[in-house]
């Protein structure tokens, strides 16, 4: 363990930061100094002060508390999207790569169709038409993103399929499900994890973007994109309402991007950076 940390110092530092963020997200309600939903009309649009270090919004809610609780919303949505992407893309990729045939052709035609179209536009259309909500945002990003993972997994599986040890397992009469589970999955998992980890930052920004347009989380949910959208109207009188939520997105996305890069270097040493 200590040996590993010594060898991958940067990765260890970034992992510690990521763990810290996850802890903040989990314990957000306890950490927030004030209730993020509790407005006080006597405290509307207060400047940052000792009591409210990031000021208050149009309903007198404490911005700092809302940003802390926003970590929970943001992290939860992002992790849902990335995990579901990996699962859906992984299953489609394994099925089409291992079994081939007509199923592969149809699935890959659909994947090509999705890849030949700007994802953000489709995500906006899907989330917008279905109506803004946390679930619909996750669905929209899933609908747009699975094709990339399916393509990646399929190409990995095709490379593996013709290896001698897989053929040996087939000849020995190993059940297909066991081959997939014991021989294919462990070999493709590192690449899926790397891709997923490197996508966390991007997904987080897209989620915030959708909420900013009003097609994501709905008020009064504390969500950074939504807070920016609400704060935008007060750019003249209360700039802190747009400065801090945006800074929160920036810092968290930066940490996850650094962590993703470091994770790739650890799991895939052949990749030259």
């Amino acid at each position: 363990m200590t040996e590993f940390i010594k060898q991958h110092r940067l990765f260890a530092v970034y992992t510690a930061l990521v763990i810290l963020l996850v802890l903040v997200a989990i314990f957000a309600p306890q950490l927030a100094p004030q209730d993020p939903f509790d407005g006080n009309m006597r405290n509307v649009l207060q400047q940052p002060s000792d009591e409210h270090i990031f000021g208050t919004d149009k309903l007198g809610r404490d911005t700092f508390s809302r940003i802390i609780c926003g970590t929970q919303t943001s992290l939860f949505m992002t992790i849902c999207v990335v995990v579901l992407l990996a699962i859906v893309g992984g299953v489609v990729g394994v099925v089409s790569g291992y079994f081939g045939g007509k199923v592969e052709m149809i699935l890959m035609r659909i994947a090509d169709m999705m890849l030949a179209f700007p994802g953000v536009v489709l995500a906006i259309a899907i989330a917008g038409i279905l109506g803004g909500s946390i679930v619909n945002t996750i669905l929209a990003l899933l609908a747009v993103g699975w094709a990339k993972y399916a393509r990646l997994v399929r190409s990995l599986v095709i490379k593996l399929r013709h290896n001698d040890y897989i053929i040996a397992a087939q000849v020995n009469g190993t059940k297909t499900i066991n081959i997939l589970w014991r021989h294919i999955l462990p070999n493709i998992l590192p690449m899926i994890v790397i891709t997923g980890a490197m996508d966390i930052g991007t997904m987080m920004m897209e989620i915030a973007g959708l909420s900013f347009l009003g097609f994501g989380a709905q008020p009064p949910t504390p969500e950074w994109g939504l807070m920016l959208n609400e704060g935008r109207q007060y750019i003249q009188t209360a700039p802190w309402l747009m400065i801090y939520p945006g800074a929160a997105i920036f810092v968290v996305v930066a940490i996850f991007n650094l962590w993703g890069d470091a994770l790739r270097d650890v799991l895939d040493p052949r990749h030259d950076s």
Partner: protein, 312 residues
Amino acid sequence: MKRLIHRATQMLVTLLGVSFITFCLAYLAPGDPVAMLLESADTIVSEEVLEKTRAELGLDKPFLVQYGNWLAGALQGDMGMSYSAKKPVTEKLSEGFVGTLLLAFVTIVFVLLISLPLGIWSAVRQNEWPDYVVRFFAFIGVSMPSFWLGLMLLYVFGLKLGWFPIASSTITAKGIVLPALTLAIYQSTKYVRQVRTVILDELHQDYVIGARARGLSESTILWKHVLPNAVLPLITLLGMSIGWLLGGVAVIEIVFSWPGIGNMAVRAIMMRDYPLIEGFVLWIAIVYMVINFLVDLSYTWLDPKLRRGEQH
């Protein structure tokens, strides 16, 4: 030729698929566009009027018939009427597209002005301070949400310094600077890295060593030999971001109230103006594919190896 036909069929299938998905979504979505349309003026509308309007708009027909009718119209260049603007969808689309096209053009100019010099500088002085500075800013840019960058620029240059208008609902020369700059900074963070990688790759080629051995000056090598070779990979990248920009960068257009196609699409979604949304998605699909196709063609045209390869 065979490749062309293959590409064309693939494009057609994608267009059909994408339009079908949007149509399905609109059909299944909650909210009644007819009620939205008629009740916008705070009046309560009787069920009879609703039924009559539905029949007029063809919304009472079964789903596949509706899709078939729409497709037949779209093939003839008629994408129906926008519910909210009471104008043909094609007219609304072309209105919005002017703004988006202008914004995309200015953005690309900014992107090239920012990323080419920085990328080249950082490659030539690899692992020295200019390289570190450029790479640091590229990293910061990648993690920064574009709409926040836009808001901050708006706050500093629009509000505090007053150099640029805060909102420009019409197309003006001053109004285009901030949105284009925001998009360009955001895009440049990707380009700078790419330019740097491409130039570094070229600098390590044998012909560069050869040129140095012949005593050519470093600047001649860079400008006459390295840069022309670096053009090809950059064209793909440029093509991709032109496609992305012409898709209407809704978030930035909203931040700066820029009258583009993305801004229009977001409003159409909020008003449940389905013909306009469907027209928008189809339009984006077409633009995106045409540009990908052009990028492919430019490859064959610019790369002598590929050009000769086709004649065999």
